[in-house]
């Protein structure tokens, strides 16, 4: 049986998360081929070596042949960029002949093998997991969960599985082109990164399966209707189903608050949550500055404000003129901003 290909997309600041994903994926699926897609360049002085061969392949997005790469990337902040590349990478892996491809966010950890997902791809072309699979009742939970999904997307694109058949390839091509077009955090225009586009997938494509297993994609946005139990035989169940993968979104920040808000007295959730925090600490890597992202700065080290990205996004003339908008010297976008729009830099 040909191996399943799996990839994740991240920057160096998320490398510890990606390593925990890789370790837990290796434990569950030692036979899968795991790809790391880095939307970044190594921090100065940091020599990136694949830790313990956790990844089978490391690909830098800059090497993926994206059209007008730098100008396109500049339009995106870090979250937008890491999600915008997923479609192109999916298409690339299918083009290379992978029969089944799974994308998993770096802040996910795998607990049980995903055999059922693999089997689903025998019969379906695309498998998606919704943020919620049971209705909420409390007004606050409806706001935090269901209304949030109306805004940000029904399906969580921390996970998607695609089969290399006609529909799967059509989906991958459509998704890659849409994400090249607009993978932005732009709620007023109905767009939220790669995720909200996928609201259209069950309508646009045949043979899409919506996986509603509560053990899949457990996260703060569905904790209100899911309960973890840890059993004396060593299993961890979610509403009675084995925990497959947990999405530790925004851990050590807003995720802590939302988890507390919806786990409440389901204390086993905190046991799993705290384990992930310990795992991140154990995988911490010296040499990566906090919040580092190569494409977060101009070449002179000045942080690129979001306003500059938004301006570049809407100004075709600037995009035509400045092929490398990250460059700060000479006839550069940076110097143009200093001259014409200094307020964008906070000056």
């Amino acid at each position: 049986m040909p191996p399943v290909h799996c990839f994740t997309s991240f920057t160096f600041s998320y490398l510890p998360r990606a390593m925990v994903l890789a370790q837990t994926l290796r434990a569950a699926h030692p036979d899968w081929v795991f790809w790391a897609l880095l939307v970044d360049k190594s921090p100065p002085g940091y020599d990136f070596v694949i830790p313990d061969n956790l990844f089978d392949h490391v690909v830098y997005f800059s090497d993926l042949g994206c059209d007008r790469f730098l100008g396109w990337l500049f339009k995106h902040d870090i979250v937008e960029a890491c999600t915008a590349v997923k479609g192109q990478m999916l298409r690339e892996l299918l083009d290379k002949g992978a029969t089944k491809v799974v994308y998993i966010d770096p802040d996910i950890a795998i607990f049980e093998p995903l055999h059922r997902i693999v089997e689903l791809l025998d019969r379906h072309s695309v498998v998606l997991t919704p943020h919620q699979t049971e209705p909420d009742e409390a007004p606050g939970a409806i706001r935090d969960n269901e209304i949030a999904s109306l805004n940000y997307g029904t399906y969580n694109l921390g996970f998607i599985a695609v089969k290399n058949d006609e529909v799967g390839r059509k989906f991958a091509d459509w998704w890659a082109r849409r994400l090249y077009l607009a993978c932005y955090d732009d709620l007023p225009n109905g767009i939220f990164t790669d995720q909200k586009w996928c609201n259209l997938v069950p309508g646009l494509f045949d043979n899409v399966y919506i996986e509603r297993d509560p053990g899949c994609n457990l996260a703060s946005w569905n904790l209100s209707t899911r309960r973890i139990t840890i059993h004396r035989d060593g299993r961890i169940l979610v509403n009675g189903s084995p925990l497959k993968f947990y999405h530790f979104t925004k851990i050590n920040s807003a995720g802590d608050i939302m988890t507390d808000k919806y786990a409440r007295d389901n204390t086993q959730v905190y046991e799993v949550w705290n384990w992930y925090k310990r795992a991140l600490k154990a995988n911490n890597i010296d040499g990566i500055p906090p919040g580092y992202w190569h494409y977060g700065e101009f070449s002179n080290g000045v942080k690129i404000p979001r306003a500059a990205r938004l301006l570049f996004r809407v100004r075709e003339d600037l995009r035509q003129h400045f092929e490398d908008p990250f460059e700060a010297d000479g006839n550069s976008l940076y110097n143009w901003i200093v001259r014409e729009q200094p307020n964008l830099l906070g000056n």
Partner: protein, 624 residues
Amino acid sequence: MDYFPIIERIRAANLFDDNFYFQQRVSAGIHDFDSPLTQIEHYLTEGYKHLLDPCAELSTRSYLDMYPDVAAARSNPLIHHIMQDIREVGASDIALAIQDNGDASELEVMRPEFSVAYYLARNTDVADAGLDPLRHYYYTGWREGRNPNREFDTQYYLRANEDVRIADIHPFWHYLVAGRAEGRKARPGGGFRRQIIDGAREPERRTADYVRSSEIPLSTAVLTRLLVSGFKDKTGFVVSVSHDCYTAVVGGTQILISDEQKLFNSDGYGYLHLSPKDPRLTLAGEDRLFMVRLILDGELLGVAPLDAVRDILGKELASPGRSIVFVVHCILGFYPPDLCELWSMLKPGYSYYWLHDYSSVCEGMQLLRNDVEFCGAPPATSLACRVCVYGSARASYLASLQKLFEHCAFEVISPSQATLDLWRRISDLPHQSVHVHPHWTLKPKPAKRLGKGIPVRTDKVSIAFVGRTSPAKGWPIYAELAAALDGDSRYELYHFVDKGEASLPGLQLIETAVTPSDRDATSRLLREHGIDIVALLSPWPETFSFVAHEALLAGAQLVCLEDSGNVAALVSKTERGVVLPTPEAVIDFFTSGAAVARLARSRAAQRYDVIQSGATASLVHAGS
């Protein structure tokens, strides 16, 4: 976000000028025509961070210079100005007038739900200074992270509610007038279990700050002389190991070892006890200079390398015909291959491994997953072990234990049948034989001495917790119980504990100290204070529990959990107490009055005699 009350007061004090503020934003280049925030909302959330001023008369920068604590807390100076105690701030007359009115109203909102008793009990500095507790909390206590009652966690509320924190609104007042109705939570979820889980640490981190001893080791010559003379003319000798020094640390296992040593000595055996010089809660790594502390027949010899001790014992003492006994009371702190070498050198006629705890199964010797719940010792590769602080090293730990047990051919001794039954289910370590050998056996006194004629008491039911405030002993459950019974006239709550140990306000604190020379201290004090019920709430399978036996000796009944191992077994056997499934059921047992009803039926005390076993010494004696 509800800024309304604050904004209303700022407007009333005429302390904000919209046009003045907007011009500053334009000049600073931080205006945003699409922002949904009003000018004053922008100042309250963002503008003050840019040191913009709310009006021409007030300077944000000057205010922060004047009040560095406000600057350090990144608080909004205008809100601070409006909310502050008038003596501290010295604000304008109009602001003072508004503030007085506002303070009075907000204080009255808080007053019904503010617990003066709770606040004073936990903030003795406030009590000592004679300050009004509500006003103290209102003005400064909340900024210092103090809580107004046991239900509201000030720091949590600010952490969980960014809008309240940013707007610098009093968190308790916000909760009472708005947050509670909006479904916001007063404290973190998970109760006492959450606190235990969040406090759980990997075993190597728990001992990382132990002070390392700097004692000078004994020279080989001195050590040889001491051991040779110590064992001279002895019919045999015992080498026992455990995780700490039994003459320096007081506890059940340590007292047991002391008894064992004395009995062996009285049988003509020399008794050498080895413990790691620097105790730890994990196995030690390979270290050719590994140092042990030596106690010979109850006297401290000093510290020496284990290698040297082993060589001396092997060369000088192990002669044919001499009875040699090797006893492992606890493996933690040792490097198992070292003990294999020691065993090989001794070639003991008897080798015992005691199940005082479950360190033969996991470094988490109480089998409490993340210190919170009995785990059942699932496979080391299980997900439950993955998420446990003791789980990551368990597979290699068990591999080490396997080699030790294969090498040493132990007879496994369990202090209770319940422990042995569990151990056989969860461990497949090789062994020669297994024995149940209780430290104490309680023998009921004849019925005619059962206190016949003692009238049924109708006064308060007295409940006691015995021991340190450890989660493994169920202290957090007892603390929950104490809170639930606060003000309940049916009960009196006690805490029996060594001098200097922590406790809780509101409990009757009884200092007790069991030592080898005063073994009856706890049971005697329990009886003297007329304790009806000992709440022995260990959430793990206790292997023996002296406290349970002491409680029964004192005539008390036991309340325990299903997972408490030999405690639950003891209750079932003696019918002196109740076994309950969960901590919640324990609390319900008392709050519902079931405890009172039970005591009304059987308050007269059953009396027992205690038969002490003498631990390993009696086993060897019986076998010889």
